[in-house]
Symmetry: C2
Subunit: 234 residues, 2 copies
């Protein structure tokens, strides 16, 4: 089971899982995100990297609001490194990875899948609490207490659900290099929080800035299609 | 924030929270459950007990299947105590309380609500792993690592989200007595997993058997409207 957003992190994680010989069931959430372009990207990535199945689950988090990604709150632009590391940003979606991992674990349990893979990253990231290793470790304990799979494991039955986060400690440049080695076509991926209607990236949100710098540092050509004020792709 | 199913447990928890002076935002999940009658019951209970707000969130768990409550799997009937305590039953919905608590925590965080109340019970229950105190304790740690509220608490800011499960160690009879004391009208609640189209209870699923015995033991009149083979309310 893999949580697939359509961004370059989860695409690379899917490539790593496939390279490790896993049969992958990919799970994407349509949670009312303003960057719905990532849903199409997730479909393209799942196909290109040979996911056995791809399911998009509707889960409208707009009912709760509270995030620049799901409510009428501006997406921060042109933030410096210091600003990005000063706290939890407006684009934080409350409890998002907790919710996504919980649902992925539920589906994993039904399928008998022993692993849930997720592309969280705690190095070049936006300061989201639910991307930290200590969250993942705690979730791992919780999910085994919450599920039949965990009960069965405790009774000596089949394996409990294991959370796998292979890029949690990598820099964005390392992730991009690893993805490139494994043949990920990053042109299929989408990272921007505030794309234009055509899906072109703004180039100025945290996600664009971190991604763009990652390609530079990795020495890999950035295939992202950016908006420009003049409407010309730069 | 309170997770409200429409059953008698969560109705009693809402009454306890209101009695403790809490302003309650009630959250109900429309997860494709076969006993959809509980959604109407949740609305009735929320109104009767003075919830400040009641939101029903659609979250179709039928995409995953794997449970007698969401897939075409028969609901077990007429089970003995021994059978009920022999393991996780077919009506277990994978990771359900983990998913529900995660979403409740997300909404709590947006509202600034410091508590998430839930009517799980580990005494007279169907053997669901996600009703046990050890699951709740682990979830409590996880949610504080997953959320801005937890980060803020760690930094000395506002309180982190606290999971409150006031009936986890009570028997069904104790819950019913407490609810009756607090004026819960149990006729508004719905517990049956396999109601007929009119919402009448089957009287034979685990949930009906545990509920019915609870009323007997509590010495409280059972107001449940049961189906009978002859179509006569018994």
């Amino acid at each position: 089971m893999i949580v697939l957003s359509g961004g370059l992190d989860s695409a690379t994680v899917l490539a790593i899982a496939r390279h490790a010989g896993r049969v992958c069931h990919a799970l994407t959430f349509d949670y009312g995100q303003r960057h719905r372009a990532e849903l199409d990207a997730a479909g393209r990535v799942a196909r290109a990297l040979g996911a056995a199945r791809h399911v998009v689950v509707p889960l409208d988090l707009r009912a709760f609001g509270g995030s620049a990604l799901t409510a009428d709150i501006p997406v921060p632009k042109d933030r410096s490194d210091d600003e990005m590391h000063a706290g939890v940003p407006a684009t934080y979606v409350p409890a998002r990875n907790l919710v996504f991992l919980s649902l992925a674990a539920g589906w994993a349990e039904v399928l008998g899948a022993p692993e849930v893979w997720i592309g969280v990253n705690a190095v070049d990231y936006s300061g989201y609490p639910d991307c930290r290793p200590e969250f993942l470790e705690s979730f791992q304990r919780t999910v085994n207490l919450a599920t039949r799979a965990g009960v069965d494991a405790a009774a000596g039955g089949r394996s409990a659900i294991r959370v796998v986060a292979p890029i949690v400690s990598m820099t964005k440049a390392q992730i991009i290099r690893r993805g490139a080695e494994l043949g990920v076509d990053f042109a299929l991926t989408h990272s921007c929080y505030d794309p234009d209607p055509s899906g072109a990236a703004c180039g100025r949100c945290d996600s664009c800035l971190i991604r763009s710098r990652g390609f530079q540092e990795a020495g890999v050509v950035d295939p992202t299609r950016y908006q420009t004020a003049a409407g010309v792709v730069r």
